[in-house]
């Protein structure tokens, strides 16, 4: 025997009886179908209210074949990005009448048939993993990554990194280091793209590629960042700016630079990427991803693919990344402020 302690609540049949109508009519009324007379509707709604009726999704799922739920598969839950994305996602999903089921990748993948769509956030999927997801037999939406032929929402990391690098170039920097995470843990796609953007911008500006300036740093606390800084500062031509692939790396970098008495930005400019909530108190210039809006857009995509599964792969949303200049970046030491007078000055110099 189950449920002696917890009252189970009224059923649709209870409401029907109280309102003096058939269950069919209650169902139609509660789903807002128009084919119900105003008087009947009023009676049913009153009865439902009096009984605090709440529909059982299990029962309706069984017959409609829809669960009213969206599963979200995330690589972690305690990162800034995921928090922001979920903060956008949850209300948007709920507003569309969908519940949000969250699965951390550390546990088993969400079982098929218990959600109407699966949102996959920020994963670098192996072909096998992707095949397994496809086998789940539910519409997929990818968040923060491209997947060929699959609905997805993401930012243009290449373009954003290009813009960030150009910003540093415009400040007069020519030696610009790049710090990437050794383990981009699920963000491999973005990681590649950002490095590409950095290189493209340098190439466009005619700056020679120097792989000595690109360093990998261990993912979280550890000596590796100090070592990277040591390498950079001991180059024949040390950098005057560092582009950190993530704000988290930038924060750690700022700490290290402060510790070794390299003033920022006087001697070293630091640019981050992400738009982490802490970037403002750190006064860190960064390329801000619209994480919340990525979540909102994902909710909208979920709604669409559920409604019309055939359009699966055709839906793509690309959101803009904004450069937010703050105090951690400044003109290159020794570089001239070549604002309007740039051309003239160049002549004078030459």
């Amino acid at each position: 025997m189950v449920g002696e302690a917890v009252e189970k609540g009224a059923t649709l049949a209870d409401v029907a009886e109280r309102a003096g109508v058939s269950p069919s009519t209650v169902s139609r009324t509660l789903r807002g179908l128009s084919t119900v007379s105003p008087q009947t509707r009023a009676r049913v709604e009153k009865a439902a209210r009096e009984l605090s009726f709440a529909i059982s999704r299990s029962a309706s799922s069984l017959v409609t074949g829809r669960t009213g739920r969206v599963a979200v598969l995330v690589p972690n839950l305690d990162s800034w990005f995921l928090g922001a994305a979920l903060a956008g996602l949850a209300p948007a999903l709920n507003a569309a009448g969908l519940d949000m089921l969250v699965y951390s990748v550390t546990t088993a993948p969400p079982p098929r048939r218990n959600a109407d769509a699966l949102l996959v956030v920020s994963f670098a999927l192996s072909p096998r993993e992707r095949a397994r997801l496809d086998d789940l037999g539910m519409p997929l939406v990818f968040v923060s990554q491209h997947e060929q032929g699959r609905a997805g929402v993401y930012v243009d990391d290449v373009e954003a990194a290009r813009r960030g690098t150009r910003y540093l170039l415009n400040l007069g920097h020519r030696r610009i280091a790049y710090l990437e995470p050794a383990d981009p843990s699920g963000f491999a796609w973005s990681s590649r793209a950002r490095l590409d953007g950095y290189r493209e911008a340098l190439a466009e500006a005619g700056v020679d590629r120097d792989d000595e300036l690109v360093r990998r740093v261990a993912d979280w606390q550890g000596p590796s960042l100090d070592a990277a800084v040591g390498r950079l500062l001991s180059l024949a031509e040390p950098p005057t700016a560092v582009f950190a692939e993530t704000d988290d790396i930038a924060f750690r970098l700022l700490t290290v630079l402060r510790g070794v008495n390299v003033p920022v930005p006087a001697r070293m400019s630091v640019l981050g990427f992400d738009g982490h909530a802490m970037a403002e108190p750190w006064d860190l210039s960064t390329l801000a991803q619209p994480a919340r809006r990525l979540g909102e857009a994902a909710a909208e995509l979920a709604r669409q693919v559920i409604q019309d599964p055939a359009t699966h792969g055709e839906r793509h949303v690309v959101l803009p990344v904004e450069l937010v200049p703050r105090g951690s970046t400044g003109p290159a030491p020794g570089a001239r402020d070549d604002g309007e007078k740039g051309e003239e000055d160049a002549r004078n110099r030459g």
Copy 2:
């Protein structure tokens, strides 16, 4: 017609047919009941595998009265604390065979009958709100707060704040300011408790209460923190240490102090509260809450109240808070290091 584009997957009846047994037997096998012969079990499991069968929770919920889901009601999703708590909660729930449904409080409360238990995180509930939750008719578990007669998991904020304050006292500080958020947004309970702990420790140490040292600061970026610092620094006897009620406030305080050239900890010690992930890179001393373990403990409580709803109110778990000393705290300026020689020195002085 629904589901033409997405294949619906095999049903339990399909598995039964393929294995040449009845649906009852498949059900018993898949739920691991022991009353199934080894041969039959093998046949059923093979058939299930071949058909990639996944059970429909909707269907089983309907008959068992259990959904296999736990709803989590959160005040926000993009805070450090909630990320960590969910990171502990989700895997623990999944490990117990439960799915996690997340509702942000900004949207409607979770409908009854669609989850087996409701976890309420960090809310200061009004009596009305609490009554509404009780009316939901599902077992409740409160996370990070006390509710009389309800299962809950939380830390002892009073004791933790007392310990933090004692730590500052032991460093020789006597003028210790306290910064509390103007809007504790859902953490009102903790907020009160922490202030109490601070006051108790001061009283125990015989330090006179001075409400001029207790300041409220606006919740997020804004001038109010600068104003609070201005007030403190212009007192006749300014503080030599500040106890910030949250790490977020402490981070902002460190930024302000740096900006106005007050060296930390030489002129001002700063102690936070929370164990925010950023406390380490900021080198902030703090009282670390075990947020992840709060989530894990909540999952365990959920399991228990589902299994035995009668024991609802009797289950309470109190988790420890640990002081993590770092570089932001040091001896009071002018105070002596009264380690082993404290007593002797006192004599010499006297």
